[in-house]
């Protein structure tokens, strides 16, 4: 399986006793790409990542990381932020980062300055002398991210990097991930919160119950899942919505919170429909309602016949309060 890809998996399978965690996973991540690995909790994301990292060994299948048959041969070139992350409580931050960096093959010379610079970049200047137990959870997560990038890795794997972060820290982390990507690092990050992936990735891999259900560029997904719905808010509260329902492109028009949602007939042009609706009655706001990744995911899973509880899956993938949405 000679390849120039950063990560390549072919038919990878992993079981824990009778439970199949990952089944027949094929995956190719080109060098320099920014991939989102998404799926609900328990989908098999962390197991897949641990196999990529050679922390777990697959039962069967082939795997290559940065051109090597095992990540063990390239650990110094990989940065990893595990989902279950911690530090030595009594160890000072500087000593901890220095220890991890040295384990990753970073030379002692200039290491202290690099650590200081990275800590300043994550908004923690001068915490080198503090013990981990003195830091808040959010601060520790930043320290752990620094540990993942302190050796300027070629491949950065982040397992649920946004979990537990406040919105400001999330935004900072997003910028840092993009900076690593801009530096040339290949990035794979997993999340069960789809808006994070929509916001950050250029390619998405969806996994459900250990099986891959989607592997496509985000732009392609948006093209494939063309919007068929339009949301609008009439300027007048007593506007005659029947005029919209009478339009040829419109299949239905239902009141929703803050206005109406129009479902277009198959083959209708969404752009023309927007113009038609705006011509039928004055509107305060009108927009195409795009498919969100979670809608795509739920649709794919439903098509596969393995969906039992749509609402709870939506709730999980939407990420609750920290979820965002992509406006047209």
């Amino acid at each position: 399986m000679p390849t120039d890809a950063a990560i390549e998996l072919r038919g990878v399978r992993k079981t824990f006793g009778a439970q199949v965690a990952v089944e027949g996973l094929d995956l190719t991540i080109p060098r320099g790409a920014l991939y989102g690995f998404i799926g609900p909790n328990g989908a098999g994301k962390t197991t897949s990542i641990r196999m990529i990292m050679s922390i777990l060994m697959p039962d069967s299948g082939d795997l290559r990381v940065l051109g090597n048959r095992s990540a063990l041969e390239a650990k110094d070139r990989i940065g990893y932020l595990p989902e279950e992350r911690g530090t030595y409580r009594k160890m000072k931050v500087g000593a901890y980062l220095s220890y991890i960096a040295r384990l990753k093959g970073v030379a002692e010379k200039g290491l202290a300055a690099r650590i200081a610079e990275l800590l300043a970049r994550v908004g923690l200047p001068g915490v080198e002398g503090k013990k981990s137990e003195e830091l808040s959870k959010g601060m520790l997560q930043k320290v752990q991210f620094v540990a993942a990038i302190v050796h300027s890795p070629d491949l950065l794997i982040l397992d649920e990097p946004f979990s537990g972060l406040d919105p400001v820290s999330s935004r900072l982390l997003r910028e840092l991930i993009l900076a690593e990507h801009a530096r040339g690092a290949t990035i794979l990050f997993s999340t069960h919160v789809m808006p994070h992936a929509e916001d950050l990735c250029d390619h998405v891999v969806m996994i459900h119950r250990g099986r891959k259900v989607l592997d496509e560029p985000l732009a392609g997904i948006r093209r494939r899942y063309v919007p068929r719905a339009i949301r609008f808010e009439p300027l007048a509260s007593d506007a005659d919505v029947a005029r919209v329902r009478a339009l040829a492109e419109v299949e239905s028009c239902q009141p929703v919170e803050g206005g109406y949602e129009v479902l277009l007939r198959d083959g209708s042009d969404a752009g023309r429909a927007v113009h038609s609706i705006a011509g039928a009655l004055p509107v305060a706001r009108i927009e195409l309602k795009r498919h969100r990744l979670e809608d795509v995911f739920v649709q794919l899973v439903a098509e596969g016949g393995s969906l039992t509880d749509t609402e709870s899956l939506h709730a999980e993938l939407g990420g609750g309060a920290d979820a965002g949405s992509v406006a047209a």
């Binding site: 050679s54 777990l56 063990l72 990989i78 279950e84 030595y88 991890i100 384990l103």
Partner: protein, 445 residues
């Protein structure tokens, strides 16, 4: 190899440069100091005032008079003698002690012979008597001269009240014994003072003749040296084994383990931790050994042990440490917290503690069947072999070599098993595993 070294250095630094380690290092010598200096003072018999009535029923009519003399001469000289010896008193301490000691204030109450014994016993049941009723002795009629046609002499029956101090009974018995012996000697026309002189041999102090010099023989050397070496080995093995268990559980429970595994393989992590903790315990053992040797040198007792014992100590330390340490680390990787670790390690800890039950018989007879068999039984083998090597009758060389060979097989087995458990257990959370689960992991990996 560099990564193994880096892990080892971190383990060493994180442990050694802490207050806890330094305090722990000082605790053992302090405990020894307490044992050797303070304990004799704490446990020494203090002068005990014995005061009360001793009733005697003497059908021979020859004991009571001697009993009062015996009580007066049986002063509790032992405690005073100890005090004098500690104060550096000369060899005549015993006589001095006898002179200084207070005799028991026992008042002999003679009861008529032939009375009702139950009535005499009722005298003992009077609990609020002043002075207290301490004992009732009923002398056998043949206690001084045998019955006609017999050669065997009688003795006496002793009755005491409940909850009486053992020292009271000892003093009573001692006095009665002296009185009986005095009466019998007089009956046979023997001079007790002459017999005492004839049967007394002053204590002799032996001199050990070595290759280079002569020195006074240290009586406890045959016990002290083996125990000291075994203690050193036990501390080295269990101290570092415990450290490996604790740090592995800490790394796993704090979830730092996965970060480490992204940088090193499980085998590198295990090797680094073993190396680091080996260095820690070697440092600790070296300090204690150096202190011990300095102590021996100070008291000119350096010749008490064979210098090759240090080499054997290192060899058996390696066997013990690599076996116990790797198993401890595997246990640390398999569990979620220290409580689970302790229960998983209970069989090993208990089997190791068996050494404290067998070291006395092995030290007394280093070539007994028990000693020879345990030489090859893991995990006690290294401890027993070192104990025997340090004794006055070391085992034959072939037994030592066989023990080392068994030890190396033990290491290979323990490290092989532990490596497999370590690799799988590190990322396993939830229900703590039992031995069956561990064996399944080993088969699966």
């Amino acid at each position: 190899m560099i990564k193994i070294w880096q892990i080892a250095v971190r383990e060493f630094v994180a442990t050694v440069f802490t207050r806890a380690f330094i305090i722990g290092l000082l605790v053992f010598p302090m405990m020894l100091g307490v044992f050797f200096l303070v304990a004799p003072r704490l446990f020494a018999d203090r002068a005990y005032n014995i005061e009360g009535d001793l009733a005697i029923v003497d059908p021979t009519g020859k004991i009571a008079g001697d009993l009062e003399t015996a009580i007066a001469s049986n002063a509790n000289g032992a405690a005073v003698g100890d005090a004098l010896r500690r104060a550096g008193a000369p060899a005549q301490a015993a006589e001095l002690a006898q002179a200084l000691a207070t005799p028991p204030k026992l008042t002999v109450v003679e009861r008529p012979p032939g009375g009702d014994l139950e009535q005499e016993k009722a005298w003992l049941r009077v609990t609020d008597a002043k002075p207290p009723h301490l004992a009732l002795a009923v002398i056998h009629p043949n206690a001084v001269t045998p019955r006609a046609g017999e050669t065997e002499l009688g003795s006496y029956d002793l009755y005491v009240p409940p909850k009486q101090d053992q020292r009271v009974e000892s003093a009573v018995k001692e006095s009665l014994r002296d009185a009986l012996v005095a009466a019998r000697m007089r009956e046979h026309g023997l001079d007790r003072a002459v017999i005492k002189d004839l049967t007394t041999v002053p204590p002799v102090r032996s001199v050990t003749v070595t290759q280079d010099a002569e020195r006074g023989t240290v009586g406890g050397a045959g016990i002290i040296v083996p125990i000291a070496f075994m203690l050193l080995l036990f501390m080295g093995v269990m101290g570092s084994g415990g450290g490996l268990l604790t740090t592995t559980v800490e790394e796993k429970s704090s979830r730092v383990i996965e970060v480490l595994l992204s940088a090193v393989s499980p085998m590198q992590l295990m090797a680094g931790k073993l190396l680091g903790h080996m260095a820690i315990s070697l440092l600790m053992m070296s300090i204690y050994l150096a202190l011990g040797l300095a102590g021996l040198s100070t008291f000119a007792l350096f010749g008490l042990f064979d210098i090759s014992l240090i080499g054997y100590l290192f060899v058996f330390y390696l066997i013990g440490f690599l076996t116990i340490g790797s198993l401890m680390m595997a246990a640390g990787a398999a569990v979620n917290d220290m409580r689970e670790a302790q229960s998983l390690m209970m069989p090993l800890t208990l089997s190791l503690s068996a050494i404290w039950f067998v070291f006395v018989p092995i030290t007394r007879d280093p070539n007994s069947t028990l000693a020879v068999v345990l030489t090859y039984v893991p995990p006690l083998g290294p401890f027993v072999t070192l104990l025997r090597l340090a004794s006055t009758s070391p085992p034959p060389t072939w037994q030592v070599l066989l023990s080392i060979a068994v030890g190396f097989v033990e290491i290979v087995g323990a490290v092989w098993f532990s490596a497999k458990v370590f690799k799988i257990g590190l990322l396993m959370f939830g229900k703590p595993p039992n031995l069956g689960t561990l064996i399944r992991w080993v088969r699966a990996s």
